[in-house]
Every structure is written in C-alpha cells, then in structure tokens.
C-alpha cells in the first residue's frame, strides 16, 4: 500500500490553490540495479482531481515525472470547506485516493 499523499488546498481570493505531494518511485524502466539488471518501469499513469464533487482535472503521466511527484493546480470558484479528492493509479495497478479540505 502506497504512502498517503500530502495535499494542501488554500483559497487565495476566489481561486483555490491545490498542491499535492505523492509518494512514488516513478521508475523509468531504463535504470539498472547494482547487478546490472534493468529495474522495471513503475510509474503513475493517471491522476484525477475532484473539487466539491466535480472533476476539475484529469491527467496522465509517464516515467519522466520526478520521483515522489509534486503537482500544483488552481481552480476558480470553490469555497473554503469544499473537499478536494485526488486519485492516482500506476502501471502496476497500485492506486491511492486521499482528500483534504480547502482552507
């Protein structure tokens, strides 16, 4: 089971700024281990962000996103107290959903 995400969501005027930190190795599939064996690709493939029950962002990622990924998004319209739900899945079928409240 993957570690929880760290989600920060804060109103700045009428825009909510959302930052998320994910715990993931994001292996490219091109690195070798100390025995010269290729380490298989293991990376997040899809991400969704829902705010106040509405899907605001969906995206896909390849192995060139840095290890332990960080993303920042902005959305206009929500209010403090609205819920932010972020979900990711990777190429091995691991997944994780976490939520936070906009402050």
């Amino acid at each position: 089971m993957a570690d929880p995400m760290k989600i920060r969501a804060q109103m700045k005027g009428d825009i909510a700024e959302i930052r998320v930190l994910m715990s993931h190795p994001m292996e490219t599939g091109q690195r070798k281990d100390s025995n010269g064996k290729i380490i298989p690709a293991h990376h997040i493939t899809s991400i969704t962000v829902d705010v106040g029950g509405k899907r605001i962002i969906q995206g896909q990622t390849g192995p060139a996103v840095s290890r332990n990924p960080v993303f920042g998004f902005k959305v206009k319209g929500p209010k403090a107290g609205d819920k932010v739900v972020i979900h990711w899945e990777d190429n091995k079928g691991d997944k994780r959903t976490d939520e936070a409240t906009i402050s």
């Binding site: 570690d3 929880p4 760290k6 930052r19 930190l21 715990s23 190795p25 994001m26 960080v70 920042g72």
Partner: protein
C-alpha cells in the same frame, strides 16, 4: 588529547571502502570564474526555494510520525511515551536544534540520530546491530531512523540553533570535534579542514563552506535531514558526514559513532544563534 583522538578514530570501522570513482577534490576558484559561479549558485538557490515549498521530505516526516507514535519493538512501547530528546519524554518542539547534548541516563553526549537509536534500543528493545546493518537510504529503502530523525527535525522548523555547552562533557565533545575536524590522515593526508577550513574552496560547481565560521557551519547543518534530488532519497547528517569520510579516503565511521557526535557538536555549536529552516532539499 592526542591519545583520545586516537581512541575515537579506532571506533571507526576498519573496513575502508575506497571509492573507485572518486573525484578530484578541491581547486581554488579562479578569480575570473567566481562571478559566473555566483550567478549559477544564485539561480540554483532561487529554484531550490521553489522546490522547498513542496518538499518530498514531508512524506518522510509523515512516516516518522507514525513510527514515533506506534508501540513497537520487543517491549511494545512507543518512542512518544518513552524517549527523552533532552527536553522531557516525548517533547519534540525545539529538541533538534538543541542537539547534540549531554544525557545523564547514558552519561554521554548524543546527537539526534544517536539519541533516537539509543531510545529504540533501550526503551523499545531493538538491537543496536540491527539498526546499524543498513543505516542509509538507497533506492526505495528508507531506514526507520531516517524517517524518525526527519520527523523530529521537523519540530524545530524556523527555530534557532541553541546547542548547550554547559556540561563539562558537552564542552569536551566540542573540543574533540574540533580536533577531529583538523585531524589529517588517510592516503591523501586529508582532514575535514583541508576543504572546509578556509574560504573560497570548491569542488566542481559546489562552493565549499568554511565550517570554522558561523556562516559556513550553518550552511553545513542547514537543510538536513535532506531530500536528495539525486536518487530521490532522504538522508541525515549521519550519512552526510559518513560520505565526507569516504571522500577523504578514511575508513568510514561506525553508525552513530561518538566521533560523529563530536563533529556534529563542533559544527552545530558553531552555527548557534542562527535559524534552522527544517528538513530541506539537497542536490
């Protein structure tokens, strides 16, 4: 004094792992190159600030928090209810910036990582040799002690270093650290101070701080524990100092050895009065 240093050096493991791909150590910055280097350094620092806004170190702090609060080990107790980092059992706020310090229960001066290891052994019943088996992060592996140290350090964010120098052993440990800092040995006859005891030294693009000054000492302890971009792993000052010994072609010290506490004491006391920013990000 000579005799004591000898004894401390003997504490270090004798299995010298000499780096095959060792880098040439130090060159003085050419005066005309200094300007360009400073501009690059400024650019690096600007973006390191960006990176520190969302530092993956937080993921390790979160892991450390779970480990700190959980009942674990053969004795099934938590560190939160047993471990005194110098300010009272379970007290975390400001503890990291006041270490290394003297602990009466151990009759020894200890740095943060050594103290946490001590608590894990004494209170939770873990075996010291198990903690020392694989003490540094690599790949997807992060030792529990690294996450714990990161968690503890996170409770001293934006606080000033205030390492005590009251107890005779604290003063003595500082002096030993100062001696080790200047102790020349190894195939290249190096000491820490060869690279870190004067101004204007660098390795490739890295400017090397002069740790005998307050500014330089702060640069050395600032940002640790640090999330290292290379490899994407979390490291503590134990790892960093260990790597200094490796780069000097010295035998590497034992994990949480008293000689590292002494060096940390020297460096951190020199940085006293300056602000610790919290777990950081390193190249």
């Amino acid at each position: 004094m000579k005799k004591r240093i000898g004894a401390l050096m003997a504490v270090m493991a004798m299995s010298a792992a000499f780096a095959a791909h060792a880098q040439q150590p130090v060159k003085k910055a050419a005066p005309n190159a200094a300007g360009a280097t400073d501009a690059t350094t400024a650019d690096f620092e600007k973006f390191r600030d960006v990176l520190e806004e969302d530092n993956p170190a937080e993921l390790f702090e979160a892991r450390g928090e779970e480990l700190w609060k959980a009942k674990r080990g053969p004795h099934n107790v938590s560190l939160a209810e047993t471990c005194d980092l110098g300010l009272g059992v379970g007290k975390l706020k400001g503890a990291y910036v006041q270490l290394p310090r003297y602990f009466a229960d151990a009759d020894a001066v200890m740095d943060a990582e050594r103290r946490i290891a001590y608590c894990m052994v004494k209170h939770q019943g873990f075996k010291a040799e198990d903690l020392a088996k694989k003490p540094f992060s690599s790949g997807n592996y992060t030792p529990e002690l690294v996450s714990l140290t990161t968690y503890v350090a996170g409770h001293s964010r934006k606080m000033k270093f205030a390492v005590p120098q009251k107890h005779p052993k604290e003063k003595e440990t500082y002096q030993i650290g100062k001696e080790i800092f200047a102790y020349r040995a190894g195939p290249w006859d190096f000491s820490c101070s060869t690279c870190h005891g004067q101004e204007g030294m660098r390795i490739r693009t890295q400017n090397l701080p002069n740790l005998s000054t307050s500014e330089g000492a702060l640069r050395a302890v600032q940002g640790w524990p640090g999330y290292r971009m290379t490899g994407g792993v979390m490291h503590t000052l134990q790892w960093r100092l260990n790597d200094c010994f490796r780069q000097q072609r010295f035998p590497e010290p034992n994990y949480v050895s008293p000689s590292l506490t002494a060096l940390l004491s020297y460096m951190t006391v020199n940085a006293n009065g300056q602000m610790y920013k919290g777990p950081g990000i390193k190249r």
